[in-house]
Symmetry: C2
Subunit: 474 residues, 2 copies
């Protein structure tokens, strides 16, 4: 993707789409964009420039109409060769895009991206959001929105979160234990400050690289613990001398493992054996469970106040709203109030108010139910398409969350299969990218990560058919 860096002038009388049009046209005219170059997708460019996709569509439409660029179906927009052409082209005169230079993996066009971090935003309750925000802005007491709020988060939101977590996740807490913050990264930073700096943090390997990055950049001592089929390996954890374990029991990323009750109890017992041992429960993907009942949180069965529960609205609602929450055990809550209450809350009051109302009105639950069905349909469609091939590979981690794992039994390596798909524009993800130490390996490295939340279901089905054609040519 070419990187466009130019200033949109929002105060200009020239419409933004014309500014984009002018810029790209000039880049082509002066030869900085060359025939055959691929333009960023309208989505990419709209995100990059922070303008609406319609605006970019209009700019591209104009450029296309004037023959500066052309759209190749399912491939994207390419710069036309204007050096041999008069400004207005007849369709029959259009230049074929120049043969592309040998593309590196990063440059390859991607038509189907099975990114496990994506979510489906098509069903975002946009109208409820608009209406509720409008109500808040017009009808709340002004002071309420303009004054600095409670450093831990507004009481009404903390109450709503506590009730939701109790009902949906079996978390045992009251509002006083809830801390609201601008995303789980920020909450983990607070937690690092709350716990003893001498702690050794055990992180699942493979696991959530970002938690490892946050802790490492803070200067925390960390150790990687391998996974077995039940989750974090207890023997390795015990040997490690770690005092804090960061785990994702609901649907581990990337392995998709749901920690069984036996391992959960072992882990809790480990924590209870010494004072100041803690478990950070990152309840990743817990909102989405497709078979049987939701599995209650570790926190809910913790007898001794050693579990710090963390969650976020990023996956359930939108990553554009930076709101996470953690539930502190009483001992840490007292320490938080003593040491860290000087931090102002990092989430704006109006956003806290919105979430509080959204949960209390039952709209959040309705949204989750809806998304659970949307994601279940996608998951079911994939599993159905896979069915005839199931002797050749297996699937795991498919009953929860927004991604599943594929493992092949025919001797082909995950890396080769992922590369093969990539060369046809289908992006899948490697477990090996989730090792804190890039040189380390694990038996899970031969699993392929397939995230299915973001693609619309028709594109998803199409992509899966293509993928199976590529992997199993008839």
């Amino acid at each position: 993707m070419s990187v466009f860096t130019f200033n949109i002038d929002a105060r200009s009388k020239k419409p933004i789409y014309m500014q984009i049009y002018d810029y790209i046209r000039d880049e082509i005219r002066c030869g900085r964009l060359n025939p055959g170059d691929r333009l960023p997708s309208t989505r990419q460019l709209s995100v990059h420039l922070s303008v609406s996709r319609n605006t970019v569509d209009m700019a591209y439409g104009q450029l296309s109409a004037e023959g500066y660029i052309e759209a190749l179906p399912k491939q994207g927009y390419y710069i036309c060769d204007i050096t041999h052409h008069i400004p207005v082209l007849h369709p029959s005169d259009r230049a074929e895009p120049a043969p592309a230079a040998p593309a590196s993996a990063a440059d390859r066009p991607v038509y189907y991206d099975f990114n496990p971090n994506g979510i489906d935003l098509e069903y975002f309750p946009y109208n409820i959001w608009k209406k509720t925000m409008k109500d808040i802005l017009y009808n709340s007491g002004e002071d309420n929105l303009l004054l600095p709020g409670d450093p831990q988060g507004d009481l009404s939101l903390r109450q709503a979160v506590a009730e939701y977590l109790h009902q949906s996740r079996g978390v045992r807490c009251d509002a006083s234990q809830v801390v609201i913050g601008a995303g789980t990264d920020f909450l983990l930073i607070l937690l690092y400050q709350l716990l003893d700096k001498k702690n050794l943090y055990a992180l699942e390997d493979p696991g959530y690289i970002q938690a490892w990055q946050v802790l490492a950049h803070m200067g925390a001592h960390t150790v990687s613990i391998p996974m077995d089929s039940s989750g974090i390996q207890m023997d390795a954890l015990r040997r490690s001398k770690a005092s804090v374990a960061y785990v994702m029991p609901s649907h581990h990323f990337p392995t998709g493992i749901v920690m069984p009750i036996r391992r959960r109890l072992e882990l809790l017992s480990w924590a209870g054996q010494k004072p100041d041992r803690y478990i950070i429960e990152d309840d990743y993907d817990s909102e989405f469970r497709y078979r049987g009942r939701p599995i209650p949180s570790l926190q809910g069965i913790d007898p001794s106040g050693r579990v710090i529960y963390m969650g976020t609205f990023s996956k359930a609602l939108t990553p554009a709203m930076r709101v996470g929450y953690m539930v502190l055990p009483p001992k840490l809550l007292a320490r938080y109030r003593k040491d860290l209450s000087f931090y102002s809350n990092s989430v704006s009051r109006s956003e806290q108010k919105f979430l509080s109302l959204f949960i209390r009105n039952g709209q959040f639950e309705r949204h989750l139910n809806r998304m659970r069905n949307v994601y279940k349909d996608k998951r079911d469609a994939i599993l159905k398409a896979f069915q005839p091939y199931r002797p050749l590979f297996s699937v795991s981690g498919e009953d929860s969350g927004l991604h599943m794992l594929l493992h092949f039994h025919d001797g082909r390596s995950a890396a080769a299969l992922i590369d093969q798909a990539a060369s046809h524009g289908i992006r899948l993800y490697r477990v090996s990218d989730s090792h804190a130490d890039p040189s380390s390996t694990s038996p899970f490295d031969e699993h392929i990560i397939l995230g299915y939340a973001a693609l619309p279901i028709d594109r998803l089905e199409e992509g899966i058919v293509r993928l199976l054609d590529i992997w199993f040519p008839s």
Copy 2:
């Protein structure tokens, strides 16, 4: 203030004011609130319960109408003695509040609070905010608001901030150097991760305690550097072996010192003497300058890329919107992109969009101009009232920012004068509370901090007259 901890049930059919009414009435009836107890102010309780002030007013109004409580002018609401009364009281029957127990300083009622952290929210551009947010919610491309944005902050906001800082503060930067984050604390946390952990951070003493707290809780090495009348003492800084200096040159808190150009150049020269020395310029209070031209930032005269500029919208707009910004020198920007771009931006997209539009439309500048006048009027009123007493005490730091300093020449101590005011319900602030080490002292400890932003001008004038009466009884 009694602490009320009860759950408001937003889904109840009972209006919230009636829930508050019921709770307080029951507390009185069962004797948990006693005759003569003072209730929290309507403002305090509305903040505490996250309800509008009107709601609390209605609850208190009802309780008052029914004789459970009574309002004493300029003192607050007190519990009536209902044990000897029938439920509906005649005004003549009202109990005098019971004599209060000897009050500790913290319990004393405060009628005039000259808090230097307050701002005037009466002039907040509430209608523009409502209208702009509505436009954003209804007319923006949806993707724009729901997709995760640029980790550094949306380009349009960064462009707007860069332009504002260039024009208003002489900061030399482009949008690529700006990092948006949920408040300066969070940005300081990012900065700590960006800089070498071995750095020794020099902090002004007295100074901004919160920066010291953030750094200390992160595990950073810190050292306090005394202040002289030009700001941070250069000799002490040089001797300290510090590699990073955190300074507030525009209007130092709490001393009100504006760092003169000579000290600025000395500080820049110190930074330039060794690689990896940096200055964190906290441009505190820089929006408000009442005499002469605004003083350009240190960053703008830095020849060697050693100044990290930080600012926030908390004081200029509202502390309820958690948005700060920092400008990284090119070397640190490269390191940020390499090491820290895994952090998602901590500010919601819609809020970034609002600020971007608010700045670009010129509304931010108009708001600042208006607030500068509002604050200048308050400052002028105080200086005028002080005029006749000026042989007895002097004023400093009054040409910038939202607080000034008083120092007495008649031998009375700041502590005694502050206590004397407090016993009459007037709260002033101590410089000595701004020492990182509470046991340390400085010549500035004999200055009294008087913040004047939050009080409405009539209340302010009233409070100043009373204060002068207390200090200089005729």
